[in-house]
C-alpha cells in the first residue's frame, strides 16, 4: 500500500486516492498520419516495463484530480521522486546496455 506525495496537494496521501495510468513520458506522435503501423503500434502498446527504476503517470483521482509523475522502483516499490507533468525526472536508471 503506497503512501504517495501529491505534488499538487503537497502532502502524503493513501494509495486508495490515486490511480496508476501507465508509463510516463509517452507523447502522442505529433503527426499520427505520418506514422507507420509499426510506429503507431509501438506508441500504443510497447512499453519499457523495467524491473527497477520506472517513471509512471498517476492521477490523484479522489483528491485534486491532477495527473503527475512518479519515479518508483518496481522491485522494492520505493518511490524515489514525484514530479509534475511537463517536468523532467532527476532520478533515472543507469542504462547499462
Amino acid at each position: 500500500m503506497f503512501h504517495i506525495y501529491c505534488p499538487h496537494c503537497c502532502e502524503y496521501r493513501e494509495e486508495e486516492e490515486f490511480h496508476a495510468s501507465g508509463q510516463a513520458h509517452i507523447p502522442r506522435p505529433l503527426d499520427p498520419d505520418a506514422c507507420t503501423d509499426k510506429e503507431w503500434g509501438e506508441f500504443m502498446y510497447f512499453r519499457a516495463n523495467p524491473r527497477g527504476i520506472h517513471h509512471e503517470l498517476w492521477v490523484h483521482g479522489a483528491g485534486c484530480r491532477k495527473y503527475f509523475n512518479i519515479t518508483r522502483n518496481t522491485h522494492t516499490y520505493e518511490i524515489l521522486e514525484v514530479y509534475k507533468v511537463g517536468e523532467k525526472p532527476s532520478v533515472v536508471a543507469n542504462e547499462a546496455k
Binding site: W40, F43, M44, Y77
Partner: protein, 1010 residues
C-alpha cells in the same frame, strides 16, 4: 471453589494470573469442564487433564497441546455454541476462556480419543510418504474423482457455518508516529519512551494483556515481580491522549510504505457472538511513520522419535502454563535442551512441587545461573545426551535417552528408558521475523543465536529485543529504549527522561546448535520424528524429498507441505531446513531462507471485508426521481453503480406485456424516461470546440450555438468506446453527454489528454452529471405535453430537431434538448436536480390526458433498436471501429487535426476485407426473437468447429412492428444485404435471418422531425 479446583487435576493451588474467584464453565467435545477467568482454552484443557486435542491429518495420530501461543500447531478447535456462530480452526492457545464457550476437536471418528482412522494411519501411513499422492491415484483414469472425494473428506480442519454470520466487523484507519508491535519488555520500554517524548504511539499485542514474557517469568524488575513493572507502564501509557493501546490485537500484515494491519478482537475473546450492536472484531489499517518490531521469539522444539505424543511440549510453554495460568500439565518431567534458558522450565516444574525426572542436556559441560539453580535443587542433569524417543499410546509414559556425540548427530552409548509423562524440549529460540519478511526483506542467518534475524529492508522499520536475538531481559529492555530513541531522532523529537528498570543479571552458557536428535535406527526406519505437526511432516519425509531431488528449500517445503499449515511453520521451519541442509551437506543459509507472507496469524474474512458487505457492498446510486420509481413498482436494472428503472409492470403483467405496453404508448402517444444517469460534462473555454474535434471522430467546427450533435468517441486504436450528444450552449461553452456507465471514464479521458498532451488548450471540464435531472418525453404527443408546462414556443419552427433551448418547465428553469433516442418527437428536459421530482410529477399531472407512460431502460433499448441506434457497450465491445458499425457518417477524415482514433482505424487489420460489421437481422419467422449472444453461421450443417460470422448484439420483440428486430455483427455484412445467416441455438433450433438495414422503423426519420 475447592470443588472447581478438585476437578482440575493439573491446576496448581496458587499462582498464575488467573482469577480463582471467577470460575467459568465450558464445553469441550460435548462434555462440561471448568476453568477460570484469565485462562485460555488451552490452559483450561490442560488444567483439566485433557491430553488429546486433535488427530493429525494424514496419520490420524493423537495430538496434544505443544505450545502456549500463536505457534501452536495442534490444538485447532471448532468454536461456537450455535450454527451461525461456528468458527473453524481457532487455536486454543489464543482463545480466551469464557463462560459457555463450546469447543470441539476437528478430526477423529467416532471421537478424538478413539479414532478409527488412526488404524488407517498406522497401516497405510507407511504408504504415505511426502508427495505419495503424486505417485498414485492415476489408474484407472476414471477413478481419480472418486479418490479425490475421499482425500477431500479426510482433509480440512474445522467447518464453515451453514448460516450467515450475525456479527459485524469494521475497520479504522490509523496514523501514528510509531507503531510498536509486541508489548513485551522491549515493546513496553519503547512505547514508554516514545510516549513520553510526545509521539503518537500505537502499541499492539496479540495477548489479552500487555507484558509478553514478563507475565510468565519469575524474574524481578526493580526488585519487584516483573508484572508490577508492567502494570506501572501500562498505567502510565493509558494516561497519554496520543497513545493507542491494543491488547487482543494481532499485527498480521506489514505492507509497503509502512502500512500495517491489526486485527483487534473486540468481543470474540469473550463470546462467540458479539453482544447486540457491538463490533466483534476491528481491523486497524495503520500508516506508521516508524515501526518498531518487538515481536519476541518462539522457542524451537527438538525433533525426536514420537515427539508428537501428547505430553511432548515446548519448554517455555510449560513454564507459561505454570507461571501464568497455574497449571502444571503433568507430573513427571523430562526436559531436553541445548541451552541454559530452558532450565527455567525444570525449575518452575520443580518449584510447582512436581517431579523433574531429569534434565537432558545435549552439551558436555553446561554452566550458568540456571544450571546452578537446578543443581542446587538437586535435579538430575544428564549431559551430552538426548531424548531419542518418547513412548506411550495416548500420552507419554516413558522416554528413551541416549548419550550423544559432541555435535549431537550420533548416539555414542547405550539407551536408557525413564518413566515420564511430560517431555519439554528446547532447541533455542527463533526470532519472530514474520512481519519483517512481508515486504520482501530476506532474513539473515545468525550463527550466534542459531536462527534467522530480520534482513535489510527499505521500510522505516526498527527492531528490538528477541527478534534481534537479544534474549536477556536487561538486553531486551535496552533495545526497546534505543529503538524508540532512534525513531524519535528520525521524527525530530527529543529523547525524554527514561531510566531502564533494573533486571536480574543472569549468566548463560553457550547454546549448542541442535535440531534433530539421532535415533538408534536410521531416520527412515526410526519412529516418526515430526518437524511440522499440523501437516504430518517428518524428518524422514524431508530426507526423502532431498533424496528425490527436491533440493531447494522451497521444493522441500512444497513437496512435503512443511510450513503450509495454519501455523505457517512457526515451530518447524528451521528444524526442517536444518534437516534438509544436513542431508544436502550444506549450511542452513546455503539451503535457503525462510520467507513468511501475511498473515502472521489467520484473519477472519468478515474482518477484512469490514462493513463493505451486504447493503454497503457497493454504493447504490439514485436519481432524484428514484423514490417515485419505487412507488410506481418499477423493476430496476444495475447500470454501473446506478439503479435504473428497468420496466414498470402493472398488476399481473409479465415483463413482455409491460414492455409492449410501454413501447406502444410511447410510439402512439407519449412516454417518459428518467435519463438522469447519463454522464454530463460541462466544457468551457475558447479551445473547447477544438478539443471536441480531437476527441470525437466527427466534425465540431461548425456546430452552431443552440445546436446539438451526436458524436462517437474512439480510443487511439480507433475502436469505439463511448458515444453521446454534445450541445453548443454558447460559443465557448458545451455540454457533453456520455453513456451512464462511461461517465467517469470519459471525464478521465478528457482530463488525461488535456493535462498531459494538450495543456496549451484553454478548456475546463467539470462533471455535472448529478446536477441535472434529465427526463425524456418521447412520442407524438410529447410536444403537446411540453406545451402544457411551458410558455415557451416549442413548435418546429422555433425549436427544430437537434436544437436546445432554455425555458421554464413546470415553473422551473430548464434546458430542453430536442434530441431523440427513440426516433420519435422527443424533448429531453434538464432541470437542477433538487427540482427534478417536482417537474417529473408535474409532467404526470399534465400528462394524464395523454396517458403519459413511464418507461424503463428495456423499452428504451427496444425503441432505439427499432431505429437501429447503437448502445456503446452492448453493440460495441472494444473491437469495432465506426466503419464496422456502419457509421462512416460519424467520421470526418478531413479534419485538420488527426483526431483520436483516426490513425488506429487505418491500420492494416482495420481496413481489411471481411471485418465483422453491424447490420440489421430480420428473422424469416417474424415471431422468432433471436437470443442476444447467438452466433451466426453461413452453413448450419458444417461440422464442429463451425465457422462463425458474428453474434447478435441486440434483439427484441417489437410490439410496434409486430415482429422481432435485431442487430448483430456479420463478417462483411454491409456488403451482404439480403443474404441469409443461420443461428444454431443450444436447444437444437436454427433461426434463419436475413441481413438488412438496422433501421426497422421510419427509415427516413420523419417521426422525430415533426
Amino acid at each position: 471453589m475447592t470443588q472447581e479446583l478438585s476437578k482440575q487435576s493439573n491446576r496448581l493451588q496458587d499462582g498464575g494470573r488467573i482469577d480463582r474467584s471467577k470460575p467459568l464453565t465450558f464445553t469441550y467435545n460435548g462434555k462440561q469442564y471448568k476453568g477460570f477467568e484469565g485462562d485460555t482454552l488451552a490452559s483450561a484443557l490442560l488444567a483439566n487433564g485433557v491430553d488429546i486435542v486433535g488427530r493429525s491429518f494424514k496419520y490420524s495420530r493423537p495430538r496434544g497441546i505443544v505450545a502456549a501461543g500463536a505457534e501452536e500447531p495442534n490444538a485447532i478447535m471448532q468454536i461456537g455454541s450455535t450454527e451461525a456462530t461456528q468458527i473453524p480452526n481457532v487455536r486454543a492457545t489464543q482463545q480466551s476462556l469464557y463462560n459457555g464457550l463450546v469447543a470441539s476437536t476437528t478430526n477423529g471418528w467416532p471421537n478424538v480419543d478413539n479414532d478409527l482412522m488412526s488404524w488407517v494411519g498406522k497401516v497405510g501411513g507407511k504408504m504415505m510418504p511426502p508427495g505419495f499422492y503424486y505417485k498414485t491415484f492415476m489408474y484407472p483414469k476414471s477413478m481419480w474423482e472418486t479418490y479425490e472425494s475421499y482425500i477431500r473428506k479426510a482433509a480440512g480442519l474445522g467447518r464453515a457455518p451453514k448460516e450467515n454470520d450475525p456479527d459485524i466487523y469494521d475497520k479504522m484507519n490509523q496514523h501514528c508516529d510509531v507503531l510498536i508491535v509486541g508489548a513485551g519488555p522491549a515493546g513496553l520500554m519503547a512505547a514508554l519512551t516514545a510516549a513520553r517524548a510526545g509521539a503518537r504511539v500505537i502499541i499492539a499485542d496479540e495477548q489479552n494483556e500487555f507484558g509478553g514474557s514478563l507475565l510468565s517469568t519469575t524474574e524481578a524488575l526493580n526488585g519487584k515481580p516483573a508484572a508490577e513493572w508492567v502494570a506501572e507502564v501500562v498505567e502510565e501509557l493509558s494516561g497519554f491522549d496520543d497513545v493507542l493501546m491494543l491488547p487482543n490485537s494481532q499485527v498480521n500484515g506489514y505492507h509497503d510504505h509502512n502500512f500495517l494491519t491489526i486485527q483487534q478482537h473486540c468481543t470474540d475473546q469473550f463470546a462467540d457472538r458479539a453482544p447486540n450492536g457491538q463490533i466483534a472484531q476491528r481491523l486497524h489499517r495503520v500508516r506508521a511513520k516508524w515501526v518498531i518490531l518487538a515481536t519476541g521469539a518462539h522457542e524451537r522444539p527438538l525433533v525426536y522419535g514420537n515427539n508428537d505424543l501428547p505430553g511432548c511440549m515446548v519448554a517455555n510453554a510449560v513454564s507459561t502454563y505454570i507461571n501464568r495460568y497455574g497449571v502444571a500439565p503433568g507430573k513427571d518431567l523430562v526436559l531436553m535442551t541445548s541451552n541454559d534458558n530452558a532450565y527455567r522450565t525444570a525449575l518452575d516444574w520443580h518449584d510447582a512441587g512436581r517431579n523433574v525426572v531429569a534434565i537432558v542436556d545435549s552439551r558436555k559441560n553446561p554452566q550458568g545461573t540456571f544450571v546452578e539453580a537446578a543443581r542446587e535443587r538437586g535435579i538430575s542433569i544428564l549431559v551430552s545426551s538426548g531424548v531419542i524417543e518418547a513412548h506411550g499410546s495416548k500420552r507419554v509414559t516413558d522416554v528413551s535417552i541416549a548419550p550423544l556425540n559432541e555435535v549431537g548427530d550420533a548416539i555414542v552409548g547405550s539407551v536408557v528408558k525413564m518413566a515420564a509423562d511430560t517431555v519439554a524440549t528446547s532447541g533455542g529460540w527463533s526470532p519472530v521475523i514474520h512481519l519483517s519478511c512481508h515486504t520482501g526483506a530476506r532474513p539473515v542467518w545468525n550463527d550466534d543465536i542459531v536462527g534467522f534475524t530480520p534482513g535489510v529492508t527499505v521500510q522505516k522499520q526498527l527492531t528490538a529485543g528477541a527478534i534481534n536475538g537479544a534474549f536477556s531481559t536487561v538486553q531486551v529492555l535496552d533495545e526497546g529504549l534505543s529503538a524508540a530513541c532512534d525513531a524519535l531522532a528520525h521524527l525530530g523529537l527529543s529523547k525524554p527522561d527514561v531510566v531502564l528498570p533494573e533486571a536480574d543479571v543472569i549468566e548463560e552458557g553457550k547454546a549448542m546448535a541442535l535440531f534433530h536428535i539421532p535415533h538408534t535406527k536410521p531416520t527412515s526406519k526410526a519412529p516418526k520424528q515430526f518437524v511440522d505437526y499440523q501437516n504430518d511432516v517428518t524428518a524422514a519425509g524431508i530426507e526423502l524429498a532431498c533424496r528425490e531431488g527436491f533440493e531447494s528449500i522451497e521444493h522441500v517445503k512444497r513437496y512435503t507441505a512443511m510450513g503450509f499449515g495454519t501455523d505457517q511453520g512457526k515451530l518447524g521451519n528451521i528444524n526442517g531446513m536444518a534437516i534438509a541442509a544436513k542431508m544436502l551437506k550444506q549450511t542452513i543459509p546455503e539451503t535457503g531462507t525462510t520467507i513468511f507472507r501475511p498473515n502472521y496469524t489467520p484473519v477472519t474474512f468478515g474482518a477484512i471485508a469490514g462493513r463493505d458487505c451486504g447493503e454497503l457492498f457497493d454504493p447504490k446510486r439514485y436519481t432524484a426521481m428514484h423514490a417515485w420509481h419505487v412507488e410506481r413498482g418499477a423493476k430496476f436494472e444495475d447500470v454501473g453503480q446506478w439503479k435504473r428503472a428497468w420496466y414498470y409492470p402493472q398488476g399481473n403483467e409479465t415483463m413482455q406485456e409491460a414492455l409492449d405496453r410501454e413501447c406502444l404508448a410511447t410510439r402512439n402517444s407519449v412516454g417518459i424516461l428518467d435519463a438522469s444517469t447519463l454522464g454530463k460534462i460541462d466544457i468551457q473555454g475558447k479551445d473547447a470546440r477544438e478539443f471536441l474535434g480531437r476527441v470525437y471522430s466527427n466534425a465540431w467546427a461548425k456546430l452552431a450555438v443552440g445546436k446539438c450533435r451526436y458524436g462517437l468517441m474512439c480510443g487511439e486504436d480507433g475502436m469505439v468506446f463511448d458515444d453521446g450528444v454534445t450541445s453548443c450552449l454558447a460559443e465557448n461553452h458545451f455540454l457533453m453527454t456520455t453513456t451512464s456507465g462511461g461517465a467517469a471514464r470519459v471525464l478521465s479521458w478528457l482530463e488525461i489528454y488535456h493535462q498531459t498532451e494538450w495543456p496549451e488548450l484553454e478548456v475546463y471540464f467539470n462533471s455535472v452529471t448529478d446536477h441535472w435531472s434529465t427526463m425524456t418525453i418521447s412520442g407524438p404527443n410529447s410536444r403537446k405535453l411540453l406545451e402544457k408546462l411551458t410558455d415557451y414556443d416549442v413548435s418546429k419552427d422555433n425549436m427544430a430537431f437537434m436544437d436546445w433551448k432554455p425555458m421554464t418547465v413546470a415553473g422551473v428553469p430548464a434546458r430542453v434538448f430536442r434530441i431523440s433516442f427513440t426516433g420519435e418527437l422527443s424533448f429531453e428536459i434538464n432541470v437542477q436536480a433538487n427540482y427534478g421530482l417536482h417537474v417529473w410529477k408535474e409532467l404526470f399531472e399534465k400528462g394524464a390526458e395523454f396517458d403519459l407512460t413511464p418507461y424503463g431502460t428495456e423499452t428504451m433499448h427496444i425503441l432505439r433498436a427499432e431505429k437501429g441506434f447503437i448502445i456503446a457497450g452492448q453493440d460495441t465491445d472494444g473491437s469495432v471501429h465506426p466503419f464496422d458499425l456502419g457509421m462512416s457518417w460519424a467520421v470526418s477524415m478531413q479534419k485538420p487535426f488527426s483526431f483520436i482514433g483516426k490513425r488506429g482505424m487505418q491500420r492494416e487489420d482495420c481496413v481489411r476485407e471481411n471485418r465483422k460489421q453491424l447490420v440489421g437481422l430480420k428473422t424469416l419467422d417474424p415471431k422468432a426473437v433471436l437470443p442476444e449472444g447467438a452466433q451466426g453461421v453461413l452453413d448450419p450443417k458444417a461440422p464442429i468447429p463451425m465457422p462463425m460470422v458474428g453474434h447478435v448484439t441486440s434483439s427484441y420483440w417489437s410490439a410496434n412492428l409486430n415482429r422481432s428486430v435485431a442487430m448483430g455483427f456479420v463478417k462483411g455484412g454491409l456488403d451482404k444485404m439480403g443474404e441469409k445467416v443461420y443461428y444454431p441455438l443450444a436447444d437444437g433450433r436454427v433461426i434463419e435471418a436475413e441481413i438488412c438495414s438496422p433501421v426497422f422503423l421510419d427509415p427516413k426519420g420523419e417521426r422525430q422531425n415533426v
